[in-house]
Each structure stands twice: as structure tokens, then as C-alpha cells.
Symmetry: C2
Subunit: 324 residues, 2 copies
Amino acid sequence: MASIEMIVAARARLRGHARRTPLLSSPFLNEIARRHVFVKAECLQHSGSFKFRGGWSAVSGLDPTVRAKGVIAFSSGNHAQGVALAAKLHGIPSVIIMPSDAPALKIDNTRAFGAEVVLYDRANGDRDAIGARFSAERGLTLIRPFDEPLVIAGQGTTGLEIAEQAEEEGVKSAEVLVPCGGGGLTSGIALALEASAPGFTVRPCEPKDFDDTTRSLSSGRIERNAAMTGTICDAIMTPEPGMITFPILQRLAGAGIVVTDDEALRAMALAFKRLKIVVEPGGAVALAAALFHGEALESDTVIAVTSGGNVEADIFAAALEKYG
Amino acid sequence: MASIEMIVAARARLRGHARRTPLLSSPFLNEIARRHVFVKAECLQHSGSFKFRGGWSAVSGLDPTVRAKGVIAFSSGNHAQGVALAAKLHGIPSVIIMPSDAPALKIDNTRAFGAEVVLYDRANGDRDAIGARFSAERGLTLIRPFDEPLVIAGQGTTGLEIAEQAEEEGVKSAEVLVPCGGGGLTSGIALALEASAPGFTVRPCEPKDFDDTTRSLSSGRIERNAAMTGTICDAIMTPEPGMITFPILQRLAGAGIVVTDDEALRAMALAFKRLKIVVEPGGAVALAAALFHGEALESDTVIAVTSGGNVEADIFAAALEKYG
């Protein structure tokens, strides 16, 4: 099981490899939100998202003889890049199974990080069968995107940094808003804060119609999303919370917050203008919640994680044109 | 005179107020440059540029009774915002004299930081007369944009951080490429590196046709630019090197590097794609030099300062459309 001890161990393995991303703020954002808003800029992490933490944690945590054979992952993008880069920096091969409709930038980058990318048709392909074949033939180790303790531990290092950086800013209690797909980042941060900043509460943030975690937390059992397409927030379009992540969220997280695609685009434009960072739609939902869903928030201070910045230039330009 | 002792003192005054901006990198940028490229992301500084350091240093360095009366500055944008925000955070009034053709974002932000903005016509107005009248009437202290030891000392704190962060990365020697207008940032960094990282050489970077520092370093005397308009790099369009900054650069800086506006736009698009940061044209000239002017570089490792990110959404979107 994922635990604070595993997160602390992951931090030691990540030291000198992952980036301690900055905690940013702007008086203009405080004014919009009518509270103090800090932004944990994980879009500035290596590979352009927090996923590098989990990828590095998992790859570095493998037995060396197992690791040497290589790793395999399924991902529409950010996990792919995080694992591929971690594998490359460890000098081992990686195979990444990606849906053929994943953003071109994410496919290109995954290849550029040295991975063998295998595309499948999201509607008709059987990605599990493809993955099983590769794993069996080459002895690759599967790195799951979120329901994997080593991955959750890696993502949880973000939470240890948030606790340290919030203390440097004199923040004693806050809601920590986290973009939530399968819940690896959210549950990792929740575990880290439970141990190191007990005055902090994690709040999962999701796009409208893909609010499986919000509904699951509300009903007390795992709920699925109706569709697997239909939001620009591709990074956090998962079918349902994980078997490992959900119990952690049930125990530690506050209620979920749901934002619209348009609110995510507006948050991207404000992050551009006020923080000078590039955030992708799925990475912007927590900032959108901080800025536009004050009615759902309780604390004077919120810390929003901007979890990734791997967005195509045309989508970013469109967000600026509409809301810049 | 500006000195390392003043920079160290400025660092103490800036602690807890200015941000220690991250040193970023990307394997993709290394590949383009065919050398190691690090980016000191001063666009993530408060007020969106390094100018907050100099503004804070100058305002905090004033005698309290003098400071209480307020400050005044001339600026087309980034110095304006840096001084206005530093004044606001000190609880004192500021008057900023800006040309009426300065970017609207910069004028708006300066006002939003609480400054009284006075616009003048760059072609026919006499900004010095306007400034003198305000200063005399209200007892305001003028904060010069670069030819002022307290300001140079503040900008120089960037150099102390570069030395520390380069050491953390195991870098022993490098060329440090700095966008250069009047030379406050470049000379401040040069002084800091002379004392704390003697294997490092500062290289001023300028836009084509506004290469007064490059030409002045080459001829050994202060040379002026022919025009005061005609580049998108508005942040570093100064008529000539400063009386205080130039002798420092003559003693410590390597040759200047000149880039085109198009190269600056390409660097902006690559900073978007590979580093997830927003850089304005004038702030991107050093990164452009790192990426596209290898012929002018000598070291295996370069550190490019991206000095500001205060760019209008439409200019940024145009850069992405052209080069994204």
C-alpha cells in the first residue's frame, strides 16, 4: 500500500532528478478569487507534468535486473512522457501504448524521449491484449498510471513540497485543489499532507461530465463516467477512480469540485497573463476551481496544483484569443 | 558605485519578498543548441520580470522618511511594474511616467499595482520636465531604471542565484547570456558572478538595430542606437549603455550577441513548448542567442536569462501561430 514512508523514500530517489517546482502567486488572482491563491506549478516539472515524479519513482524503485529489461505503460500522454523520460534517463527501454487520437505533441514527445510508441484505436482496439503481448515477449514491467503504490508515492512528493513551501509563506491551513483523473496525484498529495501539514485538506477537481471521483466521494462507492470523450481536458479523462487511490481519497479528501471546459480555458489565459506559465486544459481545472468556484471553498487560502503544461500551440492560442 | 557588497546587502533585503526563480532545462533545447542550455526563468519573478528585484532593492534601501514621500520612475513597462509593486508593498505612493505607446498590458498592470501613471508623447513630450515637476511638488525620489547602484545591486541578486543553482547542477563554467537594454541586469549579474562564480562569463544579448551595447563594447566607447522604435523587443529598447553600467560591462562582459526579432519569436515558441513558460520578445533574446547563435558561443554550457514575460496575448498567439 502507498504510505507516507513510501513517499519519503520516493523523495530520496527523486532528489537531484525531479525539479522542486515553484509555488507562485499574483495579487491579481487573489483579487479574482477573493482569497489567497497559491499555484504549485507542476507544469514546470521535467516532461511538462507531475507524471515524471511517478515515472521516476516507479522505474527507480524496481529491482535492477528487472528494470534492465525495460518498462511498458498505457497512456494518452502525460504518464507516457513521464515514464519514457524516466526510462531514458535510467538507460532502459520503454514501450508506450497510446490511443491513436492522443494529442500529437504528446505522441511526438514520448517518441523523442526514446520510447517505442504503439498506437491503438480507442474505439475498437484491445490495448490490454497489445500490452500483454509486449510484456510477455520482452519481460517488460508494467507501470500503471495511478493504481500503483510506487507511482502514488512519487506523485506524493509534490505534497511534501507543498507543505514546505506553504510553511515558508506562513500558511497554516489551506484547501489544496488538485486536478484529478485516476487519483494518483490527489491521493499522493493527500497522504503527504496528512503526515506533514494536517491543517490542509485536499479537494479533487474535475471537468464537467467527467466527475467520477466527485460523484464517487459523494455516493461512497466507485462511480463511472458515462463517456470517454467530450472534454478538452484529455489529461484527466479516466473512466473511474482507482482501487488503491479511491479508499485514500475517501479517508482524506474533501468534496470534489467540478468546472467547465470554458472555465479551464479562462484559467489557462489567466495563468498566462498573471503567472507567465503554460498550463494545459486538464492541468488548469484546479486553478479554475480556485478562481471561479468560491462558493465551493471554505478556506481563506487555497493552493491550486497546475499539474501539466503539455498543450498544443493552436489550443493555447485559441484560449488566449477567447479569454486573453 | 555598485559592488558585490551592495548585491549581498540587496539579497538580504529581498529575502522573503523576491522569488528565487527556477533554473530550467530541456533535452530538446540542448539538442537544438548542441550544448547544455539552462534557462534562468526571471519571467516568473513578481511583476513578471527581474525589474521587481531592482525596484524592491531601491525602495527598501531608501531612508524611511525619504521613502515615505514616495517614488517616481520613467519606464515603458517592466521597470514601471517592478517599482510600482515594490512601492505598493512598502505602502508608499508611486508616480510612473510612461510613453503613451507602451504596451497596454504594461500600462494597465502598473496602474493595477497602485501607481499614478502619467503618459507622455514619446515624439514630442518632455518626460524629464514632467518628472521634475512631480518630484519637486511632492518630494518623490527618482528610481532610475539602470544607472543607479541600488537598482544594479537588486538585479545582481539574479547572478548570486545563478551561481548557486549552477553549482547544484554541477556546472563549473558557462557563458551567461543576458537580455541587455541599459545594462542594469547584465552588469549586476556580471558583478555577482565575478565574486561567486569566476568561471562564468556574461554575454549581453540585443535585438538587431538596437545593439548599442554590442557596438559600444566593440569600439570601446558609448555608441547610440539610430532609432528608438522598430523592434518587437520593447523591453530592451534603450538609446545607449549607462554611465555606470557600461564600465562594469567593459571590465567583465564578453562580446555582445545580436539576434533578429524572428529569432526572438522562435525562442518564445520553444520556451512555450519545451519549458512551459511565457517569455516576452525582449526577454527571449538571450535564449534566442543560445539556440540560434552557436557560432558566437564558446562554452559547452550556456545559461540564458529569460528576463520578462509581460507580453500581450495577441503577440504571443502570433508567435505560436508562426513558430509553434
